[in-house]
């Protein structure tokens, strides 16, 4: 039996809903994800926080069932919190406490003995580069150090899953790089599963293998970052040499849209359904133009995110118009 078949899934959600009174914050979320580095993306009010609360066992779902590492999210809530290292976005620090005591307290709250928690706190702080600052009161820590300290408090009991809420929030570029390297290292080299909740798309692209896009409580997209970015099949980049005017007219007649072009001969085009790449070469040859480059125009995560949100908004607007009987 292969390892992937034997290992439990990280996350199995089936029809999860969460209502706050009459407002539905999460609507029918169903997914199955293997252990790995997962990015949770969505604008404000998308339902990310509600999903995090449900995964942490702090909030029961209004409907649906789910499991995290094989544990039921509705019944094994305290156990779930033991399996998860949670790094909150808010400071959550205790003024007057030295770093090492803060991390050791976290360990004790996870159930370690006092001595074990202290030893472990020293190890984790050394690993995260806070060895020198561990006896300093928390008020004297810089923002980057505070973020690393919160990560240390989440890591102290060696959880298989880390839940990170905006881990690079407020960091300068160097601090952000360092934090992202650390997270990528935890996932890649130490085998931790990460659920990274952020609005910084670059963070997800650098650290995560899988991305979930939430919008208005609905799961819009789910899949590997590479696959989702390559999911748009109709875009190409061309570089041409020669007079392009006749070639351009011919492309337009064939239904090809020219999305963008620059003075160095690079064109970004959208092709109609059923288009074959050979047609580019045939048309170019017919109009005395040389194609020096032809490649798929994959989206960046940011493009994908905005497009998906735009499509969802358009679709919901159309649904709303149809339900109110407004003619287009």
């Amino acid at each position: 039996m292969s390892e992937s078949a034997a290992a439990p899934l990280l996350l199995e959600l089936d029809g999860i809903c969460r209502d706050y009174g009459s407002f539905r914050a999460l609507s029918n979320i169903s997914l199955r994800l293997p252990p790995g580095r997962i990015g949770l993306l969505g604008p404000n009010g998308a339902g990310k926080s509600s999903l995090l609360k449900i995964l942490l066992g702090l909030l029961p779902p209004s409907a649906g069932t789910g499991k995290l590492l094989g544990r039921d999210i509705a019944s094994a809530r305290a156990e779930l919190r033991r399996l998860i290292g949670y790094m909150p976005e808010a400071d959550g620090l205790i003024p007057g406490l030295p770093g090492v005591e803060y991390v050791a307290l976290s360990g004790e709250l996870y159930g370690m003995s006092y001595l074990e928690a202290r030893r472990r706190a020293h190890e984790v702080l050394s690993h995260l580069g806070l060895e020198e600052a561990r006896y300093r009161p928390l008020e004297q820590y810089s923002l980057g150090m505070k973020q690393r300290l919160k990560l240390a408090a989440a890591l102290v009991h060696d959880p298989p899953v880390l839940l990170l809420d905006e881990p690079t929030s407020g960091l300068d570029p160097a601090g952000r790089d360092s934090m992202l390297d650390l997270l990528a290292n935890l996932g890649r080299d130490l085998g931790k599963s990460l659920i990274l909740c952020t609005h910084l798309l670059g963070d997800v692209q650098r650290v995560c293998e899988t991305v979930l896009i939430l919008h208005r409580g609905r799961l819009l997209r789910q899949g590997s970052v590479a696959e989702l970015c390559a999911s748009r099949q109709d875009r190409y980049c061309l570089q041409i040499q020669g007079d392009p005017s006749a070639f351009r007219e011919e492309l337009l007649l064939e239904g090809v849209q020219i999305v963008q072009e620059n003075e160095r001969g690079w064109w970004r085009v959208a092709v109609p359904a059923g288009w074959s790449n050979r047609a580019f070469f045939a048309l170019a040859s017919n109009h005395g133009v040389t194609l020096t480059a032809l490649m798929r125009d994959d989206e960046t995560l940011e493009d994908l995110f905005h497009r998906v949100l735009q499509e969802a908004d358009q679709s919901s607007r159309l649904d709303s118009e149809r339900s109110h009987g407004i003619p287009r």
């Binding site: 609360k53 942490l56 305290a78 406490l97 709250l109 472990r120 690993h127 060696d158 935890l186 080299d189």
Partner: protein
């Protein structure tokens, strides 16, 4: 390419810990059992000391039994909850403040008065044959008169009244210390968002409240019950060993008075600290409760001649009534019944706890 399992096996120092297995994992079970056994033995000794009172069928006897059960139950709760690390750290946070030590020293002045007063009285008793004796650098005094003042006015005779007077004096210091402690221990958690740190760990809001409550309770007992027990032991050592055998009920009464102070003041402090959060407003609220309410109750009952039950709005007086009953000291006729006072205190505790639970549930854990 290495599989995930290979990575897990060969990874560095971060992965050599097992996930937490539960409170009974490893050697913790034996420690827990030992702790409960020691606590039980302590209680048995405590009741053996107050044996004469166990044979009577009065309500007071049953109250003491109930008190013992609460004492044991509280410790069992400590052992089985995750409150202990929170309590320990909260205590440390407060002990690191110089201001706290200054206020604590001030609060112990009445203890020192009682402590050295007892020595002075014991010495005066040995000088009863003399007409006058020299008292330090303060001049001369009649030893018989000294003994009369100590015994009848200050009540330094090791009786129940001694300890009642001590508690009455000590609670003013307690009030100041608690006003300071409340904002540091609980108010700061709400102001700086530390509550989300605690509640995102596998502990319940009860564990959190119990941890903070234990820290507050430790300070209350450091200023009241423990000094009172020291005075009890001191008096026995100065008087005779028989004192310990005949006055065992006093020890139980002291613990009972301390426990009622602890429970009421702790819940009240937690609730007010969660409500106002900052030190100065907390001191103002606390002062209103324990200075304005007594003044008002006195004005209503003594000046306006209203029903003595109006004294129940004074929480200090309610605690005094319950404490007097536990120490088996008679009360004046212008006081309401101790049962009514106990009822008011219970109501205050229930209200405070309900408010605390509502507030802590309402905290946004994940922003």
């Amino acid at each position: 390419m290495a599989s995930r399992a290979d990575i897990l096996r060969s990874s560095g120092p971060l992965l050599h810990y097992r996930t937490w297995q539960g409170v009974f994992a490893g050697s913790r079970l034996s420690g827990t059992i030992a702790f409960v056994v020691v606590q039980t033995l302590l209680l048995v000794v405590l009741f053996a000391l107050s044996a004469p009172d166990l044979h009577d069928s009065t309500l007071a006897g049953w109250c003491r039994l109930l008190l013992g059960a609460v004492f044991l139950g509280l410790w069992a709760l400590v052992v089985y909850s995750r409150a202990w690390p929170i309590a320990r750290l909260s205590l440390l946070l407060l002990l690191r403040r110089r201001l706290f030590w200054a206020v604590y020293a001030l609060g112990l002045v009445s203890f020192l008065l009682f402590f050295f007063g007892q020595y002075l009285m014991s010495w005066a008793v040995t000088q009863l044959g003399e007409q006058s004796v020299r008292v330090g650098g303060f001049g001369r005094a009649n030893p018989a008169e000294l003994v009369r003042v100590f015994r009848d006015v200050l009540k330094l005779n090791g009786s129940a009244e001694t300890f009642r007077s001590f508690f009455q004096l000590e609670v003013y210091g307690v009030m100041i210390v608690l006003a300071l402690a409340g904002s540091i221990l609980i108010g700061n958690d709400l102001r700086f968002g530390s509550l989300s740190f605690y509640l995102s760990r596998p502990i319940s809001s009860w564990d959190y409240l119990l941890g903070k409550g234990l820290a507050v309770a430790a300070f209350i007992n450091l200023m009241t019950t423990i000094p009172a027990l020291i005075l009890f032991v001191q008096y026995g050592l100065l008087e005779s060993w028989d004192y310990f055998l005949t006055s065992g009920h006093l020890m139980v009464g002291i613990i009972g008075y301390g426990l009622s102070l602890t429970v009421v003041l702790t819940t009240l402090l937690l609730a007010t600290a969660v409500w106002v959060q900052r030190t100065v407003p907390l001191i103002m609220v606390w002062t209103s409760l324990f200075i304005f309410c007594p003044l008002l109750s006195r004005a209503l009952v003594d000046a306006l001649r209203l029903d003595p039950r109006w004294r129940l709005i004074d929480l200090w007086n309610d605690l005094y009534l319950v404490g007097s009953r536990l120490l088996q000291v008679d009360l004046s006729r212008t006081q309401p019944d101790w049962q009514e006072a106990a009822l008011v205190l219970t109501g205050v505790c229930v209200l405070c706890l309900s408010y605390l639970i509502l507030r802590i549930r309402a905290v946004e854990i994940v922003k």
